[in-house]
Symmetry: C2
Subunit: 295 residues, 2 copies
């Protein structure tokens, strides 16, 4: 691997193919300087890319960071950002192999590129869900949206990152995803960056199928509403499908795995809900995913 050159040189293990993903982290869109400490911004920047590699069942190899900074930005902020980013990179054995730097006309602008690898033909796609497959999610959902809602409600108050780890320091589910691929459990997978209701639609659209899930089965994070668990993005948990008969451990790599519904032949995506004392009813699940700050 060559750094300090016009381009970085990466050797690909023989029998493997490369995975490439790019993700912006823009001030005012993906984070706010007054809400997010620099270590969190750096961590989340890389976590977004690693989570995409996890969703393919891949192994991250190298990261590239394009970073544009306003001239007034204190060096201390940049140091914190890089500390957060490199700590996560080290944890997952990812080399920071290059990138670009520039002055920024306004605000902090980062673009992370993560290159991963997986055995040829074995990367997990969004296209493989089949009617009858069970639908699973990892971990708990809605924690990130809950933290975001608390910040919107009280913009002056700084939230404790330690008390809201899933928002400030989300863990990409790389080991869990690799287990699913290696044990041939998974038929389709996506990471929950936009929110369950949106990302389930992505899986269904790409696979040409529909789905039915049950509200009561969804593992809501403590204190999070069903709406936050359904529509809140940035949990960076995984949504995947597996054949109905396939045994799926309740816990993989220390993370809970929960069945929440099944894939249907119809192209509709629906959810069963039940108010107290009333009969369960099925309604269309509308993609109501995460919205950027500025939109």
């Amino acid at each position: 691997m060559g750094i300090g050159d016009d381009a970085a040189i990466l050797r690909v293990p023989s029998g493997h193919e490369m995975l490439v993903t790019t993700d912006f982290s823009l001030e005012g869109v993906h984070f706010r300087r007054e809400w997010h400490p620099p270590e969190s911004v750096g961590h989340r920047c890389l976590a977004r890319g690693l989570s995409d590699i996890a969703a393919m069942g891949g192994e991250p190899v190298a990261a590239f960071l394009s970073l544009a900074l306003p001239t007034e930005l204190p060096q201390k902020w940049v140091d914190g950002f890089l500390r957060g980013l490199t700590a996560l990179a080290r944890k997952h054995g990812v080399a920071l192999a290059g990138g670009d730097t520039s002055a920024s006309p306004d605000g902090i602008l980062a673009d992370i590129i993560v290159v991963g690898s997986s055995p040829v033909g074995k990367a997990v796609r969004r296209t493989g869900a089949k009617p009858g497959d069970s639908i699973y999610v990892t971990g708990e959902l809605g924690a990130s949206a809950k933290a975001l809602a608390a910040m919107y409600e009280n913009p002056k108050k700084r939230l404790s990152p330690k008390k809201h780890l899933r928002h400030f320091f989300p863990e990409p589910r790389l080991a869990l995803a690799r287990y699913l691929r290696e044990h041939k459990i998974v038929t389709a997978m996506i990471d929950l960056s936009d929110g369950l209701s949106t990302d389930l639609h992505h899986i269904c659209d790409e696979s040409g199928v529909g789905a039915s899930i049950s509200a009561r089965l969804i593992p809501c994070a403590e204190g999070a509403s069903l709406k936050q668990a359904l529509d809140g993005g940035e949990d960076y948990e995984l949504l995947f499908t597996a054949p109905a008969g396939r045994k799926v451990p309740r816990k993989i790599a220390g993370v809970a795995v929960t069945r929440i519904g099944e894939i249907l032949r119809t192209r509709k995506v629906s959810i069963w809900t039940q108010s107290e004392g009333a009969k369960a009813k099925r309604s269309a699940l509308v993609a109501g995913g995460w919205e950027h700050f500025v939109e």
Copy 2:
């Protein structure tokens, strides 16, 4: 190659390694909407990445575009930008394989990632220049800086892109660079994105050598000053070194190749200049390369 998934899948030809490069194109830093037509911005965005791959003697494979747009931007602008970018991509057989889109807090923000390949161990580095090597540049230098100077001088007047092609639609020297690598001519190479005086320092620093060039040998573009040829960036020509005895064609892939000096054992970088009637004198060549608009 998979699109519409969490990451793009790239197959690497066996016996090849991957080259990865990322480059920002930021409004107000790398271009101005009132100066640069959208087709030019799109073209230059990709040309920056392709030129980096050329500098390694590589073959471009795929490009990824992260693009953040302000909400007020007319769709017509985006269409023009993509037209310029994809026309250049098609010309060089590069697939636009993915990327990211986002709202922008301010201005148009693009980050281009180009993935290329080259036979294992054969990528041309900046580190290979040896004392005694001859120094060459391709094409003519200073044309881009000349156009930029004209725009600064008269900010309201729109320059004709057709009359200033090297600024608005620079051609990355991919075929020429590949020829140099395949014919084992080149010992070190860099693309002239920052300007000759800066990029020659990069080659010397990375190779642990010095250099001496002659002002009268530098192929100045018509109407460009020596200063523009030396310090103006964004010509996207190539600077390379070759062993002293090595025969180098005067023209490769239709582009002139000019010897401008030689590599020295000393770590100093100098230039011979001659005023009319006076004796030639040697002075230190200061890295005075291209400056971003906002700096």
